[in-house]
Structure formats: C-alpha cells, structure tokens
C-alpha cells in the first residue's frame, strides 16, 4: 500500500518545492531592490528546499539516509538567515535606500 502511495506523495512534494524555487527566482529577477530580493531568497527558496528534501527523504533507502537529507534543511536555513542579515546590514551601512513605490 505504502509502495503505491509513496511515489505520489514524494512527487507532489517535489513539484511543490519546484514551484517555490521558481517563485523565489522570479522574485529575485522582478523585485526592485536588494532588500526585497532577500525576502524572495530567504523565504521562497528555503521553503522550496524544505519541500524538495522532504520529497527526496521519502524515497531514501534507509531511515538514516532520509534523516541525513532532512538535516540539510536546518543547516541551509541557518546559513541563509545569517547571510541575508549580513547582506541587508552591509547594504544599509553603505547607504542603499529601499525602493519606494513613488520613486521611479
């Protein structure tokens, strides 16, 4: 029974993950300034990574391998959160102004 359902659940999770990755990349391309782009990368891409890893973990041949895949997520989250704070802070200290709707 699980053999029958598992590939479908896994495949769905991978597709959902791919959607968030695509949305994150779209945000990176379309958003107007460094701060907004960080939102797209920090949130959408990380969520996409979470779904992709969960989908892959369901296909893993052992529990340990599945957990190893899931372990990537908190590590990538920690790195991404730290890096986006560092980039935002540096941009702010360099005087990069946030984009406003009224400005061209």
């Amino acid at each position: 029974m699980t053999d029958l359902i598992m590939p479908w659940i896994s495949g769905t999770l991978l597709i959902v993950g791919a959607f968030f990755y695509a949305a994150g990349t779209l945000g990176l391309l379309r958003f107007p300034d460094v701060y907004s782009r960080l939102h797209a990368l920090a949130k959408a891409d990380n969520l996409g990574l979470g779904f992709v890893l969960l989908g892959l973990a369901l296909q893993a041949e052992s529990i340990a391998v599945g957990l190893k895949l899931l372990l990537i997520w908190p590590l990538a989250l920690a790195a991404s959160a730290g890096v986006s704070y560092a980039i935002a802070r540096r941009a702010d200290s360099l005087g990069v102004k946030p984009w406003c709707k009224d400005s061209p």
Partner: protein, 158 residues
C-alpha cells in the same frame, strides 16, 4: 536540569548525528565515539550548560509555529513575486526587543527572516531595524508572537 543530565542529552544528540552522517553503518563507531566526545566538549566550551537552557517541552510548539509561518511566508512572497513589484510597498521599521540578549535575540533575528514579510537589517542595543515587504502587513503583532514563543522556549520572561 542537572549538569550530568545535560551532558548525557548532548552526547545522545551528537551520537544520533553521527549515526545519521554515517548513514546507519556500524563500522565507523570508533571514530564516531571520538567525534561525539570532541563535539560534546566543544559544545560545553562554546555554550556552557546552565546559560539559556532550551526547554524541550516548548520545542514542539515552537517548531510547529515555525513551520506554519515559513509556509505562510514563502507562499506570501511567492504570490508577490508572481504579481511583480506593484505588489510591494516596502518600508523600514524599528522594533524594540523584549527578549534578553544572546541566543534568544539571535534566534529571533534569524527566524524573522523566514517569517512572512520581514528581514532583519541591524540590531543596535535593544532596537532591531527591519525591512518589511509591504507596510500594511501585521509584522509587529507577528514579531511579538514569535518573541513569546522564543521566551517560552528559553524559559525567559519578556
């Protein structure tokens, strides 16, 4: 929690990590044992046990809150990306923090970057500057909710 119990918990945690990294194989446990002891020793040196003990009973609630909000944050920014820049109305915001300095605040800033609408810019003293994707988002209320969760996690008072 007593010191011995904390040490045993950490040893157990690092042993689990080794088991995962070795993908469940049993032939590397000699090296694994050395790695577990070294990791425990390092963790005690970097994060002495009594300071900021995490309450394990509050951990599931915090993780559930975190997952729900990451999905919401990701979904929201994905919709904004599909609509393009007309969906944005960014603003800077100053948020006075109620959490004690150290691990609780660092966790707050990092998690805020994954929550809907906010990215931390700079922490000076007790005030955190945030970048908000849309100024009408209820970010302050959500940041306060996150603060309460983190306070419960560390057993601190806000």
């Amino acid at each position: 929690m007593s010191l011995i119990r904390i040490l045993w918990l950490r040893v157990l945690l690092f042993a689990c990590l080794w088991w995962i990294l070795a993908e469940g194989r049993l032939d590397g446990w000699l090296l694994g044992g050395v790695a577990v002891i070294a990791a425990t020793w390092t963790s005690v040196a970097l994060w002495p046990p009594p300071a900021h003990g995490v309450r394990l009973t509050a951990l599931p609630g915090f993780l559930a809150f975190f997952f729900a909000n990451s999905v919401r944050g990701g979904w929201q920014v994905a919709l904004m990306a599909l609509r393009g820049r007309r969906a944005l109305q960014p603003a800077f915001l100053e948020l006075p923090l109620n959490l004690p300095a150290g691990a609780p605040r660092i966790l707050l800033i990092n998690v805020l970057g994954l929550m809907p609408g906010t990215v931390g810019i700079e922490l000076t003293g007790d005030r955190l500057r945030l970048h908000v994707l849309h100024q009408d988002l209820p970010v302050v209320a959500e940041a306060r909710a996150l603060e309460r969760r983190i306070a419960a996690l560390f057993g601190a008072t806000t």
